[in-house]
């Protein structure tokens, strides 16, 4: 009798599996479905400020799909410019972060094992302090009378202060500064595992250092480059704090536009439609990142 009951009760194994699964299903996947639903609604002055999509009254089930939000996004050049601006700035920032981060990760991987731990700590430490405050630090540096301009004027490189604050340059500096550790970490993890014997083989066969780097090291670190770049690019596309604090009126980024639609205009349906389109744009980079992550899991498993 007990055996029969036990057979139908979930096993311990499925309990272990279902707790994280249900939590993530409920608080991660289901909310996206709701964003999709609300993106087909229209804004009204009420609490919550949108028209219900599914309605059941007088024995009739009404489903109203309002495509207006998407048509609105496509017709208004502001939104298209904001998407384009986000992708452009995120791409430039990712490239700059890669160009700075790769040599850094390379030098770290080459260092003595005891030094490596210290260097790793030094790279990670800034990302454990407040993100907001690290962006704030640049406000004092980049301003018209900021430290950078004072310094450049003092050493005599420039005669008139440069306009850096509230420009796209400031946004790129901010993104690179904030996300550099996330670029370095996967690159370092990849480069440190690199098989030294391959480099020695290349050198023994007469390959020059530069040549070995291009033909052996760089292709082997492709996985780290992809992971690091995606860890910078994807969050940078949706970034809100950096364009808000360092950017100016000319900085159009989609995270900021979404925030303003939501908090200032209280137009939840348009904000939802903006989020859905952003997700569609990011689906390729996210898949790329995910594929790399699962490959890593299998490799070590």
């Amino acid at each position: 009798m007990i055996k029969v009951i036990k057979k139908y009760l979930p096993s311990g194994r499925s309990w272990v599996f279902s707790i994280p699964f249900i939590w993530l299903l409920l608080f991660f996947l289901l909310p996206f479905a709701l964003v999709l639903k609300i993106s087909f609604s229209s804004a009204v002055i009420a609490i919550p400020p949108y028209q219900p999509v599914v309605e059941f009254a007088d024995n009739t089930l009404t489903l109203i799909f309002n495509l207006g939000n998407y048509l609105f996004l496509a017709s208004d050049s502001l939104y298209i410019a904001a998407y384009w601006g986000s992708i452009k700035l995120a791409f430039i920032s990712t490239l700059v972060a890669l160009l700075i981060g790769y040599p850094m990760a390379y030098a770290m991987a080459k260092a003595k094992p005891s030094t490596q731990l210290v260097l790793l700590m030094l790279v990670m430490l800034p990302s454990w302090t407040s993100f907001l405050i690290r962006i704030y630090a640049w406000m004092g540096i980049l301003g018209q009378q900021g430290l950078l301009n004072s310094f450049l004027l003092w050493i005599g490189i420039i005669d008139t202060p440069l306009r850096l604050m509230n420009t796209n340059i400031a946004v790129v500096i901010g993104i690179v500064y904030a996300y550099l550790p996330f670029m370095i970490l996967p690159l370092y993890a990849n480069l440190v595992k690199l098989d030294r014997s391959l480099l020695e083989a290349a050198s023994d066969l007469g390959s020059r250092t530069i040549n070995t780097f291009w033909r052996v090291t760089l292709p082997l670190s492709k996985g780290g480059i992809i992971a690091g770049s995606m860890l910078v690019f994807i969050p940078a596309v949706g970034e809100f704090v950096i364009p808000e604090l360092l950017g100016g009126p000319g900085t159009l980024m989609i995270g900021k536009v979404l925030w303003e639609e939501f908090f200032n205009n209280r137009d939840w349906p348009v904000a939802s439609a903006l989020a859905i389109v952003m997700l569609l744009i990011l689906i390729i980079p996210i898949t790329l990142f995910h594929r790399y992550q699962s490959k890593e899991l299998e490799k070590n498993g």
């Binding site: 608080f27 770290m108 004092g140 860890l231």
Partner: protein, 274 residues
């Protein structure tokens, strides 16, 4: 043939890169001791702004709220993240594996505005259907933070779980321990450092989050980043510099202790090995 050590291109870049990371924070710390309200003008040494900071009641309340949320979120995220990591590394071939692995890695890169908006809509729907949460605040921020922090915990813990020698767990099971007992007596002590690291990471991530908290919070709960953001938006203020200095000090101290403990553990492990 002896090669003379000369700093290569990558070493110079590493040095410059670290300068790039640390100089802005150093400037923040220096200017927190500035007597002038203007950040660009040095008017002598003063600890005036630290006093101002401690007298700011709103800020102190926000710090307390943030610490409370970060503590609860980190603790819950360690539970969920560890379970997810355990499932991903120990169970192979089961239904829903791909879904779980996507759901656990996606929050790592998901733009915060999307996560924030989606969770807010969930809470609004929940309030309509089951009547909870009537007003958003600490509880809703806790759920939101737990969800994205568990992804980070899962990454940290799963990399440790993959390193652990499986034969010890197998030996315990062969000797008659239940899987449950094996996990608590064998696996858990072995992965404890990773759990601690994951907890600390989740704690700092939760303490730091502005965007998601702004979406899912109500009038009842204001976290520290929300207060800092509203003051920073109006321009540079030396009080924020003082706060930044205290945060940098606390994080450096914690990092130093972690580094010291890690090194000691490593040395001890080397000694016990034959």
């Amino acid at each position: 043939m002896v090669k003379l050590p000369k700093p290569g291109f990558s070493t110079i870049m590493l040095f410059l890169g670290l300068m790039f990371l640390y100089v802005p924070m150093l400037i923040l710390v220096i200017y927190s001791f500035n007597a002038s309200r203007l950040v660009t003008v040095w008017a002598g040494f003063s600890t005036h702004w630290y006093g101002e900071l401690l007298r700011d009641q709103q800020l102190m309340n926000a710090i307390w709220t943030s610490l409370k949320i970060a503590f609860y979120s980190a603790s819950m995220a360690v539970c969920i993240g560890t379970l997810a990591a355990f499932v991903m590394t120990r169970f192979h071939r089961f239904r829903g594996r791909t879904t779980l692995s996507s759901m656990i890695t996606a929050p790592l890169v998901m733009p915060e505005v999307i996560t924030g908006l989606s969770l807010l809509l969930l809470f609004v729907h929940m309030a309509q259907i089951i009547g909870w949460p009537q007003d958003r605040g600490v509880a809703t921020i806790w759920i939101a933070h737990t969800t994205f922090c568990s992804a980070y915990v899962a990454v940290v813990v799963s990399s440790r779980l993959r390193e652990v020698d499986l034969s010890i767990e197998e030996a315990a099971m062969d000797l008659g321990a239940t899987p449950f007992k094996t996990f608590f007596l064998i696996t858990l002590p072995m992965i404890a450092p990773a759990l601690a690291a994951g907890w600390l990471l989740a704690f700092t991530l939760s303490l730091d989050d502005l965007v998601i908290a702004s979406f899912v919070s109500g009038p009842g709960a204001t976290t520290l980043p929300m207060v800092v953001f509203s003051s920073v938006r109006l321009g540079v203020s030396p009080k924020v510099n003082a706060l930044a200095t205290l945060i940098i000090l606390a994080v450096s101290l914690a990092a130093f202790i972690a580094w010291y403990l890690l090194r000691r553990a490593e040395e001890r492990r080397k000694q016990t090995l034959p």
